[in-house]
Amino acid sequence: MTWDGLSLRLRLLAWALVPGILLSAAMLYEAYVSALDTADTLHDRFIVGFAVGISEQVVATGGDLVKEEALAAMMAGTQDELFYKVIGPDNAFVTGYDDLPPIPEDRTLEGGIPLFYDSVYRNEPVRVVAISFLIAEQDIDGWVTVQVSQTRHGRQQLITESVISAAVRLVLVIGVAVVFAWIGITQGLAPLRRLQEAIRRRSYHDLRPITHPMPQEIREVVAAINQLLERLKESIAANEEFIANASHQLRTPLAALQAQAELAVREAENADSRDTLEKILGATRRSSRLANQLLSLARAQPVSGGQPRQETVDAARLAADSTAEWVQKALAKDIDLGFEGPTQGCWIPGNPTLLGEMLANLIDNSIRYCPNQARVTVRTGIADNPGEMVLEVEDDGPGIPQDQREAVFERFVRLAEHDEGGCGLGLAIVREIARRHGGDVAVRAAPSGGALVRVVLPGLVGDRP
């Protein structure tokens, strides 16, 4: 993974933790060094005391022997093995262990000042101290040197314990830091997630700027996104305005063409030219319809011309009224157009013009593509989900093949075998308007084998609020 693609969380953690770990390692080393120093100081002090004790014993016993009880008392409190050697004046060995490591050649012992050195005694590393005392007694008169060697176990143990306890503390600190850094980063990144959700939840129509309160660091990003949305909105609006203008501009010449063609059909005297004129008239009507449909599609899209009026609409009554308006057209094809479900009392928030247009397109589609004597039913009802209402148009016509059921909602898509003067925009308009109202539309097979177009619209309130 490249650095660019690395998650923000890992980056932040890395920046917080890598220095922390390096610092901890340094602190651990420092703890080790200081433990070493402390251990030496303490133990050196101890063996100096021991050496002083030995010298006193030597004086007390007149240089003969060191009492076992005194030795035991002095050695209490250490697990280390202690060995001593007493050298009288004239370098005469007095008592102790004769083979203790001697003072290194390059060091000189000065009277009264302890001299420490490291060595090996009986195969173990030892610390040795040598001190000279001036003793003026009956038996011994002159400089007496006492050497004491101590194994390093105690020192090692002290160092190990100090370092381990320091390490434990550091690991705890780092652990707590990781936990809080994790929580902090999660908290810190939460606005990003909210932004992501806010963008994800948006309908594709909604190009309003994002206004969620955001931390300063993300505000720039949001501002950039908002600028993009604004430009997108302008571009879409310009596009739709063009379509609306174009179809608007087409209407008057089309009206003229259609009126002249109608007149010509009326006035035609011979059957052949009448037939030709009928065809021109038919083509003109289809062009008019296309212009109208393009215009309603452009109008169904919200960006152009701002938000349409939203009110509470009785969709059931609208559906019943629309159905009634189409009965004559249905009768002309001997189609049994009927209605099922409530004819009033399904109030939803919406725009009555757009919803009416949606219903007109749904019913027109069924009548247009069904053969004569088909049965078309408009149905209103409540969806399985609470608060949603259903508008359905079911027919027993040829139906829509499974693999085409999504394609029919695309613009200018018509089923190959049909040529009923449709322009392939009807269901695209239906979907546009349904989505505009927060709902959607889908096609499935009717029990009769025909098509069943089902629109689900949210926000249903049983009665007028």
Partner: protein, 222 residues
Amino acid sequence: MRLLLVEDNDTLADAVSRTLASHDYAVDVLSEGDHADEVLATQTYDLVILDLNLPGMDGLEVLRNLRRRGSDSPVLILTARSEVDARVTGLDLGADDYLTKPFALEELEARVRAMLRRRGGEPKSTVITHGVLSFDTKSRTCRVDDRDVDLTPRERSLLEVLMRRFGKVVSKDQIAESIFSFDDEASLSSIEIYVHRLRKKLAHPRLAIRTVRGLGYLLDAQ
């Protein structure tokens, strides 16, 4: 009948004026809004057909001026703007009806006829006729193909409401309202019985009372 057509598309104006002329209406044609405004200030027409998008002066402005002068000539608006707001504005300003371009000439003829009839007040005749069927709202008698049909009072009321909304769906509720009085036990299912009886009595190949599933009934004639 004198009609004024204000339309700047010559081809459309030509077709519309020829159509209206074929019905023996005298039609003046103007193509500019300000010109129409001047003419309307001095002349009175039985009907004005007004395009909205005009050079010189907007159609809505012409309409506003016309109404400001107190004229009550019926105005039919032709518009390429299908936006409802434009229609509402037109109707609020005192237009009587509107047609969205492109329109069928038959539709235009029907609207013009209806508007002129309305202007002429209630039709003097009390007889409603549709195809072979006629109904006298005063004597409440019904004829099919010059044959008197004997109807009971409720059948008559049923026929009347269907005739008045000829070609349109009449809901069972609307029928119930007109055939049952307050005291009657209004039952929607009994309407079917009356419809059935009326169908039998009207029996004619060119007449049909169609049942529109879930919505009501519709009287249809060829």
